[in-house]
């Protein structure tokens, strides 16, 4: 009996899904409710919530010298403060961000660029979007530059598809990663 319980516990532990990074694509940008970039939708009552702006799988190995994007959110979210990671300056006015670092941000698979705190004023669904800033360096794109190649503007790719697809949701449906799985990948789930 005791042996069975231990075995069952082991099986359950193995079966429990580890928090996995949602967006595995290069140069992904998304909003997440955890710093592991694995949760992009939550349900909650009124109150305070922090959402992390995260660059994932950056292709520039030297890190990030500057970046720009815009965070759009509905009226039932009230901004309660923004904390930018690292020693930096935001030249834009929120919700636009055009951020340059005094010391470049080192490379990381999951690179948290900013923490945005909101007061959720009611439980209506709230979709958050990422978009190019009002005066983008590259029209229609969100970009970053690496310290070893300042001139190359690297596009950041929406974690869920595009400017009109929410990258994070509160009290609504969950966003999905940008790229559909291949048929082989889907079949692999059932092997």
């Amino acid at each position: 009996m005791r042996r069975s319980v231990i075995l069952l516990a082991a099986v359950l532990l193995l079966a429990a899904p580890a928090a996995a990074q949602v967006d595995t694509h290069p140069d992904g940008i998304g909003l997440y409710f955890d710093e592991q970039a694995s949760i992009n939708c939550i349900d909650m009552g009124t109150g305070i919530v922090t959402v992390h702006l995260v660059l994932t799988n950056a292709t520039a190995a030297s890190g990030v010298a500057a970046w720009e994007c815009r965070v759009d959110y509905p009226a039932n979210l009230i901004s309660a403060g923004t904390s930018l990671a690292g020693s930096c300056i935001n030249l834009a006015s929120e919700p636009d961000f055009a951020v340059g670092y005094v010391q470049p941000r080192p490379w990381a698979t999951i690179n948290v660029l900013a923490d945005l705190t909101f007061f959720v004023s009611n439980t209506s669904p709230a979709d958050l979007f990422l978009r190019p800033i009002s005066q983008p360096s590259v029209p229609g794109q969100m970009v970053y530059v690496a310290p070893d190649d300042i001139g190359a503007k690297v596009p950041m790719i929406w974690s869920t598809g595009g400017p009109d697809v929410p990258v994070a949701t509160i009290n609504g449906g969950c966003a999905v990663p940008a790229e559909q799985d291949t048929w082989g990948g889907v079949k692999g789930l059932y092997r």
């Binding site: 720009e68 030249l91 055009a98 670092y101 360096s137 530059v145």
Partner: protein, 211 residues
């Protein structure tokens, strides 16, 4: 008697040859700013991102318009009035200034790389310790500019005001340039626009001051 006269003539000739009379030649190694020259490897024009703390880019890694990196090392050939090279001229007495603009240089912040060599040559290739912005480089030799057109090199800096420290005053000016019309002073990447690349270079220079 004739032999004595011959000896006297020879002695006089020798003394004239071995001791040049002042005014007939300039054997002193004094630089001549009309004959000395300063050159750059290519026509340019170049732009150099500079900072008061010396953390900017070297002249050897300047930008061409469009952001391509190019060598803008200045080679000075220092000669005297005879056209003879001047050896071991002190680098501290060779420095750069700009013909136009408001380049502000920290003490000793734009001197040559080294003493002149046996050919009378030295270079300016290191980063300047400077703020502000300036166009058209002149090489000065002990305070006298070479008698030649300015070299096609411009400088800009996160220390936009030129007070030799990059601080809040500069953020205001850079912010205006980023949102407004083009100003070279904020085009650190030198591609004709002020965008995220310039923000990166501007931010890296914040807080920089003279050593």
């Amino acid at each position: 008697m004739r032999r004595t006269i011959t000896i006297m003539i020879l002695a006089t000739a020798w003394s004239l040859l071995s001791c040049p009379v002042a005014g007939l030649a300039d054997p002193t190694g004094i630089p001549d700013v009309n004959l000395s020259t300063a050159t750059v490897p290519s026509p340019g024009p170049f732009s150099v991102y500079t900072r008061p703390d010396g953390g900017g880019h070297p002249l050897a890694a300047a930008y061409l318009m469009g952001g391509q990196v190019a060598d803008a090392t200045i080679t000075l050939h220092l000669v005297d009035a005879n056209g003879d090279p001047i050896y071991l001229y002190p680098f501290e007495d060779l420095w750069l200034e700009c013909d136009a603009g408001s380049l502000a240089v920290c003490a000793g912040g734009s001197t040559a790389d080294a003493y002149t060599d046996v050919n009378g040559d030295t270079t300016f290739s290191h980063p300047l310790y400077a703020g502000g912005q300036g166009q058209g480089v002149m090489v000065l030799v002990s305070g006298l500019a070479l008698a030649q057109p300015p070299l096609p090199i411009s400088f800009n800096s996160p220390d936009i005001t030129g007070d030799l420290v990059a601080n809040l005053d500069d953020i205001v000016l850079f912010g205006m340039d980023w949102l407004g019309s083009y100003h070279y002073r904020s085009d650190f990447f030198y591609d004709g626009v002020i965008d995220i690349s310039d923000i990166a270079l501007f931010a890296q220079g914040l807080g920089a001051g003279c050593p």
